[in-house]
């Protein structure tokens, strides 16, 4: 589309000039074309969502906007003027702020110190603390947060949502005209998302434009005025949120029918005996856990942030074991007290955060894959590069199975792409010969095609007789994959739903409202006595 046509299009859609505009942006990295001739306008006072698969170019585009990357081709226009920022701090000073998923904050410093880091009000090198705190208080007041966030509070005493607000306060303090947010709702509870919504509206009213990247289409439609879809580094389209349905957006993102996403659920014959049974188990974070897992089945664990899903996985795997109650594996009482024990008993755990918990970045692919196998052997066992004595070609076989694409198994893991790293993690657990798998957000941050292949692999596991417990925040994934769904709330399993339940039914339970099932014909939803939300 020519420049003129594009500008014409903008002006017919909404009168004002765009506050931020990128024109014909192209960006190449070694071996990959990240962005290809992308042009977007951001209008003042609008909330503009950018969606797309992983690798579609969203993050790259945002980074180019704030000057963390320079484009190979194309121009950036801010408030009508052509600009080129050499460092994100320049963009920030000009009024263009970005909030990353991992906040750029210092936990040991106070709120005010964080907001004004590098720009402390000072005279002759001495910080004016009173002025600092006052300015911070003023900014917090603009956000309506002055009642529960104090400028002198150390940052590490605040919840994740409150810390996000401090980040937003930082942006406001720069008198930002455009605020870019990367996955703002990923770590928030439902209540906190609502508070964020109010905040967004407040900011809109001030004329701020907000650009955000998100994978969660429900929230995208909740918050956004317009949605831009990127695919393979190219712009697919920019549409009004009110004029499209979510399925159309997904279609634009992948160009595929959604129905082919998920492998078929297990039939009753494929589900075997109970392999894992938990009775009345509890620990510091969980209470009254009763759970059964059968071979051949995938049990989905739904629930909101803070409901205790990861804590459940950690308890099962021995990271933070249960303190009371019973745990049975294959009919034998066996309290799992450590990850090593869990692995020896045939359990595997694919964690949420592979960078921090899943991979050894400086070790080669084969050592990563062999990690669990070797941890079960004696320390003085001889190491074979790609396998065990019994199975010397284990690594190449598994790598093929999970479709890891790498030039050599001696390559260090830090040089692999995110998707390939996750596949190596999967291979590691397959190598351990586990029969009970726990997956925590198995496809988070992974593009749709890789997602589908991982789903296929998970179902494959159950077809071969394994049992799978799958935690996920993505309801379509829960519904698409689970033979049974358990819902968690406030540290306990609040209820169970059959396969194919509706998103609304799951969400209802997840927010603490349980159907009163005294008389199934007179079901009504009643909220469970709400306890204080856990941080």
């Amino acid at each position: 589309m020519t420049d003129e046509a594009q500008i014409a299009k903008t002006e017919t859609v909404a009168g004002p000039q765009p506050v931020l505009e990128v024109r014909h942006i192209t960006k190449r990295f070694p071996g990959v074309l990240a962005l290809d001739d992308v042009s977007i306008q951001i209008l003042p006072g609008e909330v503009h969502a950018v969606v797309g698969e992983n690798g579609a170019g969203k993050s790259t585009l945002m980074k180019i906007m704030v000057g963390a990357y320079t484009p190979d081709q194309g121009t950036i226009w801010f408030q009508g003027e052509k600009i080129s920022f050499a460092h994100p701090i320049q963009a920030q000073r000009a009024g263009l702020s970005i909030i990353y998923q991992e906040f750029n904050l210092l936990p040991e410093r106070t709120v005010a110190q964080n907001i004004y880091l590098g720009r402390e009000p000072a005279r002759l090198g001495l910080v004016d603390t009173q002025q600092l705190n006052q300015q911070a208080a003023d900014v917090l007041k603009e956000l309506g947060a002055e009642t529960f966030i104090s400028p002198t509070a150390p940052l590490n005493t605040l919840s994740v949502a409150e810390q996000q607000m401090v980040e937003i306060a930082k942006a406001i303090s720069f008198d930002s005209k455009v605020l870019i947010m990367d996955e703002p709702t990923a770590a928030l509870t439902v209540t906190e998302v609502n508070i964020l919504k109010d905040l967004v509206n407040r900011l809109k009213a001030r004329g701020l434009a907000i650009v955000f990247i998100s994978h969660r289409l429900i929230e995208v439609f909740d918050l956004a005025d317009r949605i831009t879809v990127l695919k393979d580094g190219r712009l697919v389209d920019t549409v009004q949120a009110s004029t499209v349905r979510p399925s159309k957006i997904v279609h634009m993102m992948v160009g595929r029918e959604i129905e082919h996403y998920f492998p078929p659920l297990a039939t009753p014959e494929e589900i075997g005996p109970v392999v894992l049974r938990i009775k009345n188990a509890a620990n510091k974070f969980l209470n009254d856990i009763n759970l059964e897992l059968r071979t051949g089945e995938i049990v989905g664990v739904a629930g909101l942030q803070g409901s205790g899903r990861t804590e459940l996985a950690q308890a099962l795997f021995g990271v933070n074991p249960f303190r009371t109650g019973e745990m049975e594996l294959n009919g034998v009482q066996v309290p799992i007290r450590s990850p090593g024990q869990a692995i020896r008993k045939g359990m595997g755990f694919v964690t949420e955060d592979r960078k921090a918990e899943g991979i050894l970045p400086n070790q080669p692919v084969n050592d990563n894959i062999m990690l669990t196998v070797r941890s079960m052997q004696a320390l003085l066992t001889r190491v074979l590069r790609n396998g065990t004595r019994r199975d010397p070609h284990l690594v190449p076989a598994l790598a093929k199975k999970v479709d890891v694409r790498v030039s050599s198994f001696g390559r260090e893991l830090q040089y692999l792409s995110g998707g390939n790293q996750q596949k190596v993690v999967l291979a590691k657990w397959l190598a351990s010969g586990a029969k009970v798998f726990i997956f925590d957000e198995p496809t988070r941050g992974i593009d749709v095609e890789a997602k589908a292949s991982i789903h296929e692999m998970i179902r494959d596991l159950t077809r071969q007789g394994a049992a799978v417990l799958m935690i996920s925040s993505e309801l379509p994934e829960i519904i698409g994959m689970s033979d049974r769904i358990v819902v968690m709330w406030d540290g306990t399993i609040i209820g169970e739903l059959p396969a194919g339940s509706k998103e609304s039914e799951i969400m209802l339970m997840a927010t603490g409202q349980v159907a009163v099932a005294e008389d199934s014909q007179h079901e009504s939803a009643a909220p469970v006595e709400a306890r204080e939300e856990k941080a």
């Binding site: 071996g31 090593g340 899943g358 970045p361 400086n362 070790q363 990690l371 070797r374 320390l379 590691k428």
Partner: protein, 334 residues
Amino acid sequence: MAQATTTSPTREETVLTRLWGWIRRIPPIFPVLIVIFLAVGYLNPNFLTTPGALAFLRRAAPLAILAIGQLFVIASGGLDLSVGSLVTFVVIGSALLIDNDPNKAMPAILIMLGIGVLVGLINGIAVAYFKIPSLIATLGMLLMLKGAGLYWTGGAPRGYLTDNFRFFGRGFIENFPLVERFPVPVLILLAVGIAAYVIFHMTNLGRSILAVGDNPTASRLSGIHVRKVRIIAFILSSVFAIIAGIMVGGFGGVTIIAGDGLELQAISAAVLGGAVLLGGRGSVPNVIAGALTLEALFNLLNLLGLPKPLRDAVQGLIIIGAVAYTALAARRRK
């Protein structure tokens, strides 16, 4: 996403590229070692003869063994500052225990080895269970060993080391094939070196140590007993220090400064040999090469007539240079 296109290389190009790739991957310490060896040999032709080289290896053996011990700890993500004072402890403690009675030599050695295990255990528990940074924990141990050793001997070296004890530091194996006189310390170095190589590169223990140094959380969640591995690394370091101490006692005199500065030399040698202080990387042969390079360098400085104190200055410049080079190379790789 769009793929990058490549043209297929010719046959000559592949062979040459492979060769160059192989050459590029030789750890830089080896060419440096060769250069320094040749320099020393030029100034002292005796150095390049077999007896001369063996004499050099005999002198370098304690440092090499200490460096290997340090590698185990560094690869697991820590640092062991107590090895120098452990060497001193072995020297003055053995002299006191043996007190010129050859029958007491073997028991003394066994006691020292036991103490080594105990020290390593304490270091390991402090770091693994009490989560004390290894810098602080082994520093505390350094002070304790220094004090304990001096207290035990009353502040001055007492007692006497017998010849059978000194054999490990001074002795020769006679009638050895080819060489006739083979220094015992070199034999010990060979044995320790091979054992360490096997442990570090060929067993689970070595892989586990690297894993723990690289990402302790991921290791723990994959079933590795992180605490046990850390403790074993410290025990290995201390035991190797005991062995080095026995050699030092045998070769040199009994002084209260026998082990002074050795821990820093050992760390320098390990770093020269490619060990990364953050953990997760390292190799036994490279570290041995690092120790030999350091020792050869000291030799070179001696031959050049540089006064002894300048050794320290040079050592300082070397380790800065070595680490700067490694950091540069690592960043270039990324």
